[in-house]
Symmetry: C2
Subunit: 362 residues, 2 copies
Amino acid sequence: MRLSVGDLDDLSLGGVFLATGGGGDPYVSYLLAQQALAASDGVDLISADTLDDDAFVATIGGVGAPSVSLELLPSIGDPLKALRAFEAHVGRSVDALVAFEVGGGNSLVPLIAAAQSGLPVIDGDGMGRALPEAQMMTFPIAGISPTPALAIDYEGNAAMFDSGSAQTYERHIRAVTQAMGGMIIAVEHPMTGEALKSAVVRGTLSFSIDIGRILRERRGLAPQLLPALGAAFEQSQYGALVELYTGKVVDYASAIVGGYDVGKATLAPFDGDGASLTIDIRNEYLVARIGDHILASVPDLITVLDYETGTPINAERLRFGQRVTVVGVGCPDYYRTARALEVVAPRCFGFDFDYVPIEQRV
Amino acid sequence: MRLSVGDLDDLSLGGVFLATGGGGDPYVSYLLAQQALAASDGVDLISADTLDDDAFVATIGGVGAPSVSLELLPSIGDPLKALRAFEAHVGRSVDALVAFEVGGGNSLVPLIAAAQSGLPVIDGDGMGRALPEAQMMTFPIAGISPTPALAIDYEGNAAMFDSGSAQTYERHIRAVTQAMGGMIIAVEHPMTGEALKSAVVRGTLSFSIDIGRILRERRGLAPQLLPALGAAFEQSQYGALVELYTGKVVDYASAIVGGYDVGKATLAPFDGDGASLTIDIRNEYLVARIGDHILASVPDLITVLDYETGTPINAERLRFGQRVTVVGVGCPDYYRTARALEVVAPRCFGFDFDYVPIEQRV
């Protein structure tokens, strides 16, 4: 599939849906991708399975607190600059790029570098959603080291890492990200095509376009929207979509703690009567609950949609008074394995309960 | 001059004196240097001026809060591991090593790597004393970039930097140092022999040995010690030594703030009667004052000596009740130039007064 400017609307809209509150605001990345794609012949979105086993692939994306990306804006040359610096550092040319995660911003960053370099982008990513920490990606879970990795900031300063574990790498790059202003572009997880195939969550960019198209075509048509989304998810690797709550944002607090957006949102019914829903946030929406009753938790997806338009809303865009519908979707099976749950279960985020798949909770 | 185990006592003792409270505790570094030198044929301590102009030199030392080095102990293989990783990163072999700064620990780190690699060590350093931040070294003041630079932690994790300025580099490596546990070994300032000669503070390691010998030979002989030290400094690039205060430590507070030891010590007369002296600390002793009257300030040297033995005491070793004599010494002329004062004057540390050379203050 050849991606062009016309695909960006749906890709970024669907990316925000799958990014479950995180993944970066798409606005500026969208403008940059639009400009980069318009100046190119388009970007090849290729299946991981068409890659040579000995191809050399790397992930690329933004790292930081999503709220920072609203103010510290990326430049159109940053992704390619990061890619070239990474290639010089490892002494090898990259054959294809892959997204860290699906996200409004982070689905688009690889496209910007790809449009400028002529490289293809893998239809897939390392999370199938967005998650806040490097060790939560499918690649390190499968044993692929995130390093050698390289980060550049808005000034072109670079930091490179060789780390013994993904957790260590996460700690180090997060510290540098904070020192670099809170948001950087990183190139990570150099790997072979063979390694990529063992761990990539397949088809998530084209699926984002599908979801984005549904969101666009049924914008403002609430009665049709959720059934249409539900049908699309049902046939995908994610599974059933569940409506969790509808109400208005009555409380929202967020702070940058340790380089992440950490916060909580509270929703109440429109008429103010009835139980309220709380959502815990660490870049992404992690847990949705009513009182002690948990409706959905990480690694399953929790997404907040504007009640009127159905547009998904990132955590850093939540505001008092917004009228929203909260939905949950199962995560790809990969994240339900014991090995993956060691790094993405609710306890990894400090919550005192075990993961129960959303279809068993509802 | 060939350094051997027998020189280490004086070298580290004199290094603590010149390090003006910082530079790292020498105890473990001393044991490591002793072992490394004993297993070698010694280390050549060479004059910068004997170096070829096109030789390739790098600085090496510990970065972090000195208080951390009391608990997060270096391993004997760390300096060489950092050197080799740096050489692999820049693709070039280092011809000679030079210390960041004179310090109990940081004078010895280059010797450990040199004993194990056979490289010579320059008789000199990048500060002529110790100072807390990278941009305060003579090398960046002379326009030599601290990067490419490499840091390794106790586990062997590495971070590398390419930074647009020394201030930026300082911010980034300090953040990584904190994430790496608070103390790392860094290799920085790759430069030619010609560049080194333009900026190195000459002769500071051999001068440390001279000062260390005086301290050792006159240990406990207070009436002879200060005159002997004074005579040695008078003939050196530092100038006159001034006795500032004698008393006991009645208050000492220190916290790790932003990766530095930040604190304050208060001294009172032995009989409790009379004016007290306060010393401001940021890794190093920065300002000594009685009330509003400033006796000495950075970049001049302020050193605290045990009252009984004359042994210099690092800031992280200050304790309530210690009986001490505080002395001040002028800094090398290099630090009194307008260009150097732009980065090392008291205002660079947040103090609201200008630098006045110690000989004009007393």
